[in-house]
Point group: C2
DNA sequence: GTCTATATTCTGATAGAC
DNA sequence: GTCTATCAGAATATAGAC
């Protein structure tokens, strides 16, 4: 199964693992080569440079990270509650497989804001989404005038993503292990949409 | 005013700025020296090494980050709602001055989990705090059996800290500038405690 | 395509003059 | 205390054989 991978795939997989864990600067190309079970020269043969390899992985990570979100945000069939559930469930399920993704993306964005932000999120303005329209339609008139609807979407993302970002800290101060952490996140799949609905009332 | 600083203070301030923005590995000692307006050799004269300088700054950042929190968590005078307000208000006010702090601390923890986690948070187990006791006292019996109280504290931290961590992304997709972002965070000082209270009911 | 050996650049740290 | 010049090691990238 591992042997079915092409060399290029092996390098990319190793690179992804290490870049995600340590970030761009702390990652050594020698480390990647070693973990991929190949020689350092081969890495440059396939990807020309560390930075090009990184950019490829970064772009793919951001794509899969935003892709799902955009589709749900723009879906015309589902109602507001269904969208909440899809977003929370989708992210938790996806990130459980790669828990380092959110911190990785946000850290590297911070390191080099222009590079990535402009490329990926130019298309997505919250205010232009179906989700946003459905949201303001749902909120009561009086509440709409006193509270910016953005807050609720920020809450949705915060409660879903932050636990992964602070995972190691939470496990320490909450005195739980990795398994218990995952169980908590599993519970949150139902809880977060419920809490958000509650806030809108 | 800038000239009243000692050389040591100038180096530390420059180091803090750059470490916070770029993290340990992406920071060059030459960069720090330049921003401090001194020579590279002088940095080593005062701090011996990049790592020692970093550790000093990291420790101070974590102290001021957790210090306030621990005190509120253990305060016997205030009730639950007052604690919520103090925590949210305190953090937002503090981090508005240094918006990079949360992402910096969480990134570097990820980079080197043992180094910092064990030192700083060993004392603080959530379940041993007054806040936690007050929380389970407040939650209805039926709810207490179905929902782990940790969730509410996770929500409190998530809604408070995550916006700063995702600041640049939020400003992009929310189509707002830095000033508007701060205004939103100002609003959240009142909103977050209210939302949490609502969840407990 | 893959490797070994090597060139090149970068970066943290020190020696030594002032 | 502060600087210039320099070293030593690390890390990226390439040359060239197989």
């Amino acid at each position: 199964m591992n042997s079915k991978q092409t060399t290029e795939e092996k390098i990319k997989e190793a690179a992804k693992d290490i870049f995600m864990k340590k970030g761009y600067s702390a990652t050594k190309t020698r480390d990647i080569a070693e973990h991929a079970g190949i020689n350092l020269a081969l890495l440059n043969y396939y990807f020309r440079s560390k930075e090009k390899l990184f950019n490829q992985i970064m772009m793919e990570s951001m794509s899969s990270f935003f892709q799902g979100m955009i589709m749900v945000f723009m879906d015309k069939e589902s109602d507001l509650e269904q969208k909440f559930i899809k977003i929370v469930d989708g992210y938790i399920e996806q990130i459980k497989q790669q828990p380092d993704t959110p911190l990785f993306i946000l850290s590297e964005m911070q390191r080099n804001p222009d590079e990535f932000l402009s490329k990926m999120t130019k298309k997505l303005k919250i205010q232009d989404t179906i989700l946003y329209q459905q949201l303001i339609a749902e909120i009561g008139k009086e509440k709409l005038e006193s509270v910016n609807p953005i807050h609720f979407l920020v809450n949705l993302m915060s409660m879903t993503l932050f636990p992964f970002i602070a995972k190691s800290m939470l496990e320490h101060i909450g005195d739980i292990n990795s398994q218990q952490f995952n169980a908590l996140m599993e519970e949150r799949k139902m809880l977060i949409p419920m809490w958000i609905k509650q806030m809108l009332r």
